[in-house]
């Protein structure tokens, strides 16, 4: 009986298959099986070759995808950086300090006051006080929706730090609702000059300014009198 499986160098060829497969397993996809002999083993050999081709293709694809993903990730990180930067810029922008009158600064506070914002606001205000030499600063909180204990503490902190530099703060824009909350929460703002409207605060600041100014005139006047003698 003739054996229908006609293998030439069967042992050698199977060893070769094992060889190639272990190379593939190790990551070497360049090796292929020779398929020049036609017999039943050839089908297996060809199938293995096709599998290796497929694998090569898939690997290439996934590598490409990985690169694309990394690219995208980099872009996203880049965008995130920009967003953070913009947020920081916005924070600074949202606390503009302006000199509105001789010796008077105004800081309109709009939106919710959290610790980070207060921090930037406080630093901006103090820096501006030192730069301009203004000794009166008005913090207008008309645009602050609610004042809770934390916000009040932030405001107190800012006012106290400004006082240490030698500037007086007035807090204006205290609505009836905010006045009610402040008292209900038991927050003590008695150490701070508060005014209902920005206009009241401005008038108060100018009056104070005049006092300072008159004081100076008075002094110069006195000195002149002394000189005249």
């Amino acid at each position: 009986m003739e054996n229908n499986l006609d293998f030439k160098n069967a042992k050698e060829r199977i060893e070769h298959i094992e060889d190639v497969l272990s190379s593939v397993a190790a990551g070497d996809l360049d090796k292929r099986l020779q398929t020049d002999i036609e017999d039943d083993l050839t089908g297996i050999e060809e199938a293995i070759n096709i599998l290796i081709e497929d694998l090569t293709y898939e690997l290439k694809q996934s590598k490409k995808m990985k690169e694309e993903l990394e690219d995208k990730l980099n872009k996203i990180q880049e965008q995130q950086k920009t967003i953070v930067q913009q947020q920081e810029d916005l924070l600074e922008l949202s606390s503009p300090v302006t000199k509105v009158w001789d010796n008077v600064l105004i800081l309109p506070v709009i939106g919710t006051l959290d610790s980070q914002r207060t921090q930037i606001m406080m630093e901006n205000l103090l820096q501006k006080i030192v730069e301009t030499g203004c000794t009166i600063a008005i913090l207008d909180i008309t645009g602050v929706p609610t004042v809770d204990t934390q916000v009040a503490n932030h405001l107190l902190k800012t006012v106290t730090a400004a006082r240490l530099l030698g500037a007086d703060c007035i807090i204006s824009g205290i609505s009836p609702a905010i006045a009610q909350t402040i008292v209900h929460l038991g927050i003590d703002l008695s150490s701070i000059k508060t005014k209902a409207t920005l206009q009241d605060a401005m008038l108060f600041a100018m009056k104070k300014n005049n006092q300072l100014f008159e004081g100076k005139i008075h002094l110069e006047h006195k000195e002149q009198e002394e000189d005249d003698k």
Binding site: V130, G133, G166
Partner: protein
């Protein structure tokens, strides 16, 4: 008092009725204590009615120096002399408030000129 800090004595200058102290060195505790009694003795010796302490160069004021400065103001007040702290840096002010030292009762001014005006005003108010 310790000898090694003697050479670092902070100068106190008298102009008219006022003493002017400009702190130009990084303070340590002994120096701060020494400065306090030095100023009080100068008030006694010269009869000065006001003291300006310029701290614009100080990059840091911790609780000890802070307390020394506010203690200084209360002590001078009992001796009938007013103290004004001048030129505190913003970062120092923020740190002091966070530390819990709000220095109530201590007068402050942005610069020497404003501090001087403040003292003069106080003197006038006292006289009238």
């Amino acid at each position: 008092m310790n000898l090694d800090i003697h050479d670092k004595k902070i100068p106190i200058i008298k102009i008219r009725d006022f003493l002017i102290v400009s702190i130009q060195v990084d303070m340590h505790d002994k120096l701060a204590v020494q400065l306090q009694s030095q100023i009080l003795h100068e008030i006694e010796r010269t009869g000065a009615k006001g003291v300006l302490i310029d701290i614009s160069v100080l990059e840091m004021v911790d609780s000890f120096i802070g307390r020394m400065l506010s203690g200084m103001a209360s002590m001078a007040a009992i001796m009938d002399a007013a103290v004004v702290i001048v030129g505190m840096q913003p970062a120092v002010a923020i740190t002091l408030v966070e530390l819990g030292l709000e220095m109530p009762g201590v007068d402050t001014a942005l610069d020497m000129e404003k501090g001087m005006e403040m003292l003069e005003k106080k003197l006038r108010e006292k006289e009238s």
